[in-house]
C-alpha cells in the first residue's frame, strides 16, 4: 500500500506489521503525553521536585540526551571538517539520532519550565551572566542546524524527490552542508561545555565546584570532551540495535570500526583528564574548602551515593570501554564492541546524574543531612516519552527515507542473489568447457 514511498532496492515489512509496531510504541508515547499535559495544566506540583532539588530527573535526562546526541556534531565534524569520507555511510543516522536527542531535550525543557508560553523570555529578557542562557541560545540554534541537516533526508524520499524544486533543494543543501556542520560543531562545543560549567562554577557546593581557566571551570571542557567521545558510541549502539531489530546489516564493519576507534581514543584521553581532575579535586580543591572526599560518598541514605558510583562512572563506564575500543581486537569482536558502547553510554549518563543530582544531595552545612528525592510517575512518564518518540521517528525514517546508503548493497534483493548464483554457475560451466574442450550440451550432459 505504501510501497511507492519506500526507498528503491530495499525490503521493508508489511504495512500492517509496521502499524502494529507503531501502535504499541504509541501507547507509551500517550502515557508520556498524559503526564506532560498534567504538568502543564496543573503545574510543577505534579513533580517531586522541592527546594533542595530544583534540578531533578528532567535535567539529568536533558544533559544525558544532549551528551548522547553529541554523536551528530562530532560525526559531522569528522565527516565535513576533518574529511573522513567513510563516515558518509553513518552520518545520516547520526544526524537523525542527534535530531531526536535535541528535540527531546527541548521538549523536556518545555515541560520543566512550567510555563512554556514564557519560553521565549530567555531570548528576549536574557540574563547575560548565566551559563544556562548560553546553553538555551546554543541548544535552540543547534536544533535549527540539526533540522537543516535532517531536512535533505526527508526530501530524498522517493515521491518528494520527484518534485524538481525539492530535488534541487536537497542537492543544494548537501553542497553547503559543511558550513552548517561547522556551525553545529561551534554551537555544540559551547553548549556542551556550559552544561558542565553550570556545576563547576557552584562555589557554594564543593562537590561540583572545580577550578579552571579564566571563567571556564574544568568541567566545561570535560563535558564537551565526554560528549564527543560517547556520542559516537551511542550512534554505534543505536545502529547495532536497529540492525538486530530489522535483522539486517545496515552499515559496513569498516565504518563502524573507524567511528569506534576515534571514539575510543577520545574516551581514553577524556577519562585520563577526568581522573586527573578527580584527583586534583579530591586532594586539593575540596580540602581547601573544608571537605574530605569521604564526606561526599559516605553516610548517605541507603549508600545511594557510595564510592561505587565513582568507580562505576570512571572505571566501568570510562576506562574499560576506552581500552576495548582502542584495541583492534576489541573493536572487531562483536560482543566486546557491544559491551564497550553500552558501558560508555552508561558512564556518561552516570556522570551527568552525579553532576546534577549528587551535587544537590550532598549536605553543605554542618547541620544539614543528605537530601533525598525520588521522581513522581509524571516525571518518569515524561522522561520515557522521548524514548517512544525517538523509536517512532526512527521507525518512520528507516521505512521511508534512505537513511543507510549501504543497505541495498549489503542486502541485495532475493532475485539479484538468484541471478548472481546463476552467473557464477554459468561461469563455472564455461570454465569447465574450456578446460575439457567440450560444447555446452556435452558439458551440461
Amino acid at each position: 500500500m505504501d510501497s511507492e514511498l519506500i526507498p528503491e532496492g530495499v525490503q521493508r515489512c508489511s504495512l500492517g506489521k509496521f502499524l502494529l509496531w507503531i501502535g504499541v510504541v504509541s501507547v507509551v508515547l500517550l502515557w508520556g503525553v498524559y503526564g506532560m499535559i498534567l504538568c502543564w495544566a496543573k503545574g510543577l506540583n505534579q513533580t517531586n521536585m522541592n527546594n533542595a532539588f530544583g534540578f531533578a530527573l528532567w535535567i539529568w535526562a536533558d544533559l544525558a540526551v544532549i551528551a548522547l546526541g553529541g554523536g551528530a556534531f562530532f560525526t559531522g565534524f569528522l565527516r565535513y571538517i576533518v574529511g573522513k569520507k567513510e563516515l558518509k555511510n553513518i552520518i545520516n543516522y547520526a544526524v537523525l539520532i542527534g535530531f531526536i536527542c535535541y528535540s527531546s531535550a527541548l521538549l523536556i525543557l518545555a515541560i520543566d519550565i512550567g510555563q512554556p508560553l514564557r519560553g521565549w523570555f530567555i531570548f528576549w529578557h536574557a540574563n547575560v551572566h548565566s551559563m544556562l542562557t548560553e546553553v538555551a541560545f546554543c541548544l535552540s540554534c543547534y536544533f535549527g542546524v540539526l533540522t537543516i541537516e535532517y531536512l535533505p533526508l526527508i526530501l530524498e524520499n522517493r515521491q518528494i524527490d520527484k518534485i524538481p524544486f525539492f530535488h534541487n533543494l536537497s542537492h543544494n543543501m548537501h553542497e553547503v552542508m559543511a558550513v552548517f556542520a561547522a556551525t553545529g560543531a561551534f554551537l555544540s562545543f559551547f553548549h556542551q561545555g556550559s552544561l558542565g560549567g553550570v556545576a563547576g562554577v557552584l562555589y557554594g557546593r564543593p562537590f561540583g565546584f572545580r577550578e579552571g581557566v579564566l571563567i571556564w571551570p574544568w568541567t566545561f571542557f570535560l563535558f564537551t570532551w565526554s560528549a564527543a567521545a560517547c556520542g559516537p558510541c551511542f550512534t554505534i549502539l543505536i545502529t547495532k540495535i536497529t540492525e538486530k531489530v530489522v535483522g539486517k546489516k545496515l552499515v559496513k564493519d569498516n565504518v563502524v570500526e573507524l567511528l569506534a576507534k576515534i571514539s575510543g581514543w577520545m574516551l581514553l584521553t577524556y577519562i585520563t583528564a577526568k581522573i586527573i581532575d578527580t584527583l586534583y579535586w579530591a586532594y586539593v580543591t575540596a580540602p581547601k574548602m573544608g571537605f574530605t572526599l569521604d564526606q561526599f560518598y559516605t553516610n548517605n541514605p541507603g549508600s545511594a551515593y557510595g564510592y561505587w558510583i565513582l568507580i562505576m562512572e570512571v572505571i566501568v563506564g570510562g576506562v574499560i570501554p576506552a581500552l576495548i575500543l582502542v584495541t583492534r581486537k576489541g573493536r572487531q569482536t562483536p560482543l566486546l564492541l557491544w559491551i564497550a558502547v553500552i558501558l560508555a553510554c552508561v558512564g556518561v549518563s552516570l556522570n551527568r546524574w552525579v553532576m546534577v543530582l549528587q551535587v544537590l544531595a550532598v549536605p553543605v552545612l554542618t547541620f544539614e543531612n543528605w537530601f533525598t528525592y525520588f521522581p513522581s510517575w509524571q516525571e518518569i512518564a515524561t522522561t520515557i516519552l522521548p524514548v517512544a518518540y525517538g523509536t517512532i521517528l526512527i521507525s518512520l525514517s528507516y521505512r521511508y527515507l534512505p537513511i543507510f546508503p549501504q543497505e541495498s548493497e549489503l542486502n541485495p534483493p532475493p532475485e539479484e542473489l538468484l541471478s548472481e548464483a546463476e552467473t557464477v554457475q554459468k561461469e563455472a560451466i564455461e570454465q569447465d568447457m574450456a578446460s575439457q574442450d567440450l560444447t555446452p550440451a556435452e558439458s551440461a550432459g
Binding site: F123, V128, C138, C141, N172, M173, V176, F180, T183, F186
Partner: protein, 54 residues
C-alpha cells in the same frame, strides 16, 4: 533581545552573548536563503545536480 530593547546595555556580556546568537542565526538564515534561492533558480532554469554524498 535587540539593542533597541529597553533592557539592553552596551557591555561585554551583551556583546558576547547576543553577538554569538546573531552570528549563528545569521549563518543559518543566510545558508538557508542561499539554498532556497539557488534551488528556485535551478528549478526555473531547468538546471540541477545529483549529490553523491548522502
Amino acid at each position: 533581545m535587540f539593542p533597541f530593547s529597553f533592557e539592553w546595555t552596551w557591555d561585554m556580556s551583551h556583546y558576547v552573548f547576543h553577538g554569538g546568537l546573531w552570528y549563528a542565526l545569521s549563518i543559518i538564515g543566510l545558508g538557508m536563503t542561499y539554498c532556497i534561492g539557488k534551488s528556485a533558480y535551478d528549478t526555473i532554469t531547468g538546471k540541477g545536480g545529483h549529490h553523491e554524498d548522502h
